[in-house]
Amino acid sequence: MLLRHTPKEISERKALTINPAKTCQPIGAMYAALGIHGCLPHSHGSQGCCAYHRSTLTRHYKEPISAATSSFTEGASVFGGQANLTQAFNNIFTVYNPEIVAVHTTCLSETIGDDLPQIRKKAITEGKIPEGKYVIGASTPSYVGSHVTGFSNMVKAMTELAEPTGKKNGKVNIIPGWVEPCDMEELKRLTKLMGVGTILFPDTSGVLNSPLTGEYKMFPAGGTTIAELKSTADSMGTLALGEWCSADAARQLDKQHKVPCKVLDMPFGLKATDRFIEALRTIAGVNVPEEIMTERGQLVDLISDMHQYFYHKKVALAGDPDQLIAMTEFLISIDMCPVHIVTGTPGKKFEKRIREITADMPFEVNVKAKGDFFLLHQWMKNEPVDLLISNTYGKYIARDEDVPLIRWGFPILDRQGHQYFPTVGYKGGLRLLEKILSAIMDRKDRDDPETKFELVL
């Protein structure tokens, strides 16, 4: 057994995390920053964090991830990292010449107490930041929240660039949250079909799913432009997808520039997508086009066609709050039974929300924020499931417990497709459903006795 020391019996742990279902803030900040066109993320701390974040993002996206670091050594840790960061700005703008540098802190610079806004101000006064270039900064201590928090903090930092002109731009800001580049593309396709002008930020499509052409572009064509980020202050309103990933930025725009906002769940699955489309429709006062109606109908059709195979199947889930909330709702909406749900990201409101969504389930649902894969595994040993949905780390549990695994979330280190095939929207719902069905039916074909083995399923 791969996880041979995991006991079935659950004992309370107060201090020890085993097999985390989260990671630290800066990696989320780095991913978000890559969604700005021409942006070089910068990690203010030791180079190790930056190396780890780049490696993990690279393994997930199979794309180059450029990011710089302040490369602290002992001295910087004692005297503060201002000199390192100022030097870094100089080197970055000379060598890489990005449009913008998005700085995030690490647990090191946070513990030292480096004051990012002050360092930036000083760098600007001292002329270390060239004319026409931008620097934004997010505080991302890794001992608070999780990678999701870091993502949210960097998206919020992007709103610093918002600059009202006094004239509305007629657009809707959409904050997609931590979804794949292709999901961002899909959201743009949907809003375009709806005829709603949008500013999507961040937008990693065209950055982290770029083609192989024999040319390396450090700053690929994709990403939300600075002009667009500026213009977010002039938008009609903001749709924030996901309370954890996107709401803070949307509220900030509201507070700062009176851009009203609405926080929705991430549009995974039928109902959350319905709400997303409905919101677009009402905000922009448009009709839902036939094409989108068809896509919705196709999803409903597939659910009805194959209902017998997933009806009341039990599912264990690990992932990030916004994704899990939408997925849990989706599973319930197709009459599946999510029974164990774990996120590493702390926050009681996650547990509360899941309890609300699962209130009608005929049995107790295990849910834990600030949980880990170790606990999830123990739950599965006590109450076995038919399916596990999680990032790649779930595969150790899946193999030990002989449960099919659907890789969904971050990071996915051992399969492809997540960059290219969206799981948001109705089409994304089709893909999720197809994955769920394939997992269950592959298992059926493998496990059924020969007498029961069937050609047509």
Binding site: G48, S77, C107
Partner: protein, 547 residues
């Protein structure tokens, strides 16, 4: 890449100038000292600057001290609970990402395997404010209660040193409290050194201090060695162990691929230390010699020829005809398959060029394999090497100890009162040296590279891209972070830290695997698809295609 594109011949001086042209003057000056044009003179390579600070803002390939300590050295130990004290990230990122393989055998007391687990105290803000010692203590207790491991290792990440958690005292207290579990700690905060290298040193010190020599129960074997600096990535260690077994050589302990606590604890019983990765483990080799009298030699099991040579060195050391004969028989038995593979593949790889920027020894080791493939190494360097890794240990006395290196503890080891026993007398060692064996010696990368080769320390992303653009190698080797920016340029990239996938590449079978892998990479059809047909032939045709 077509032959025509390669016609531009750059000379190394121009390339060097080109690499540093864009830098601000201070950076250019610093980098100029880390880029050396090899003169390949006997015993007199020019000096390179290495093991110095990474330049802030320059996109580096390097990782941190913690990565060198926990990730590299302690990561592959399977029956030690490696508990990371800090916020969650550091532990998460080092979780199973290095492809160290392990064979724990069937479940049971001897089959402990914590490799697939990730342990962390997941420090929260209140721990940073009020200190994390209580939480660490509690976490050690919980790990003990759950798993009853024979050992728990504690690793400090960045904030721990700053807030002053005394991890060593807590570990000692917990060791006393638990009774049957050895608990010790590593002060390997990420900022401690300029690269992973500092972490290796810290790991070496603590493993030596807290584990090596703990078990005197005799280890059986006629020719007992330790294999130092081999991490069983992609199963390299398995292949080397297979060969050792065939030769009748007992590998008491590998530092640290597929290793166990007991292996470390009995390592002092070996009669020879064979050092693979010089950078990461030479400290343990030196300490084992001083304290227990075990000499060390440099070996290299990357490359079939190198493997044969290393086996012969080991056999020569034991001065035993039986072993010498077995080793020759094993080489004779293994080589035909290797030769057959080489003969088949050489026509497709011969004359091609490679670049390697990896770790602290690998760039040197893998040169052997590329040689066997008829491929020329046109530029190479280390990510975290020291001058001795480039220029050989003869420069050791001349290396300036800067503030950053002084930070890392040098532990003073003395001969063990009862257990020190020189495995060879002075005369024997001398005779062996005259016979060609070199003890406590490593000549470094530079002498093995051709004159004019660009040797670059701590290569960064910008320089890598420039280098590939200018010199157009057929293959580039570095780590995962570099992989896709190089491949976007249409040049295949092989990871030589964790190999992407595949392996083993060590030993005889490994050499064959590597030949095949490089053949696959440099001859893949995919590199010819960069341009669509209409880009290759862009002129618009005036006639109708259907006419």
């Amino acid at each position: 890449m077509g032959a025509a594109e390669k016609l531009v011949q750059w000379n190394p001086t121009d390339i060097k100038a080109e690499l540093i042209k864009k830098y601000p003057p201070k950076v250019a000056r610093k980098r100029a000292k880390q880029i050396m044009i090899n003169e390949a003179l006997e015993n007199g390579t020019p000096e390179i600057t290495a093991n110095v600070r990474t330049i802030p803002g320059i996109i580096t390939m390097r990782g941190c001290t913690y990565a060198g300590c926990k990730g590299v050295i302690m990561g592959p130990t399977r029956d030690i609970v490696n508990l990371v004290h800090g916020p969650i990230g550091c532990s998460f990122y080092a979780w199973l990402t290095r492809r160290n393989q392990t064979d724990a055998g069937p479940e049971g007391p001897a089959g402990e395997n914590f490799m697939n687990y990730c342990f962390s105290t997941d420090m929260q803000d209140q721990d940073i404010i009020f200190g994390g010692e209580k939480k660490l203590e509690q976490a050690i207790q919980e790990a003990y209660d759950l798993f009853h491991p024979k050992s728990i290792a504690v690793f400090a990440t960045c904030p721990v040193g700053l807030i002053g958690d005394d991890i060593h005292t807590i570990s000692r207290q917990m060791k006393e409290k638990l009774g049957d579990c050895n608990v010790y700690a590593f002060s390997c905060e990420g900022y401690k050194g300029v690269s992973q290298s500092a972490g290796h040193h810290i790991a070496n010190n603590q493993v030596f201090r807290h584990i090596v020599g703990e078990n005197d129960e005799p280890v059986e074997g006629k020719y007992k060695i330790n294999l130092l600096g081999e991490y069983n990535i992609g199963g390299d260690g398995f292949e080397i162990d297979r060969i050792f077994k065939k030769c009748g050589i007992t590998n008491v302990s590998t530092f640290s691929g597929n290793s166990t606590y007991e292996q470390f604890a009995t390592a002092h019983q070996a009669d020879l230390n064979a050092v693979m990765c010089h950078r990461s483990i030479n400290y343990v080799a030196d300490m084992l010699e001083t304290k227990f009298g075990i000499p060390w030699i440099k070996v290299n099991f990357i490359g079939a020829e190198a493997t044969a040579k290393s086996l012969r060195k080991i056999a020569a050391y034991f001065e035993d005809q039986e072993l010498i004969d077995t080793v020759e028989a094993v080489i004779a038995e293994e080589m035909p398959d290797v030769d057959a593979a080489a003969t088949e593949i050489l026509p497709r790889t011969g004359g091609k060029t490679a670049m390697m920027f990896v770790g602290g020894s690998r760039a040197h080791h893998y040169k052997e394999l590329f040689d066997e493939l008829g491929m020329k190494t046109i530029s190479a360097g280390y990510e975290f090497g020291h001058r001795d890794d480039y220029e050989g240990r003869r420069v050791l006395p001349h290396i300036k100890v800067d503030a950053d290196s002084r930070n890392i503890e040098e532990i003073v080891v003395e001969a063990d009162e009862t257990r020190f026993s020189p495995r060879k007398s002075e005369e024997e060692l001398k005779a062996l040296e005259e016979g060609g064996l070199k003890f406590k010696d490593y000549e470094g990368l530079a002498p093995d590279l051709e004159e004019g080769t660009l040797i670059i320390d701590d290569l960064n992303q910008y320089e890598a891209e420039k280098l590939v653009e200018l010199m157009k190698p057929d293959i580039f080797c570095a780590g995962i972070k570099e992989k896709f920016s190089i491949q976007k340029l249409g040049v295949p990239m092989k990871q030589l830290h964790s190999y992407d996938s595949g392996g083993p590449y060590a030993g005889f079978k490994g050499a064959i695997n590597f030949y095949k892998e490089i053949d696959r990479l440099v001859n893949s059809r995919v590199w010819s698809y960069m341009k669509a047909p209409w880009q290759e032939n862009p002129q618009l045709s005036g006639t109708y295609v259907w006419e």
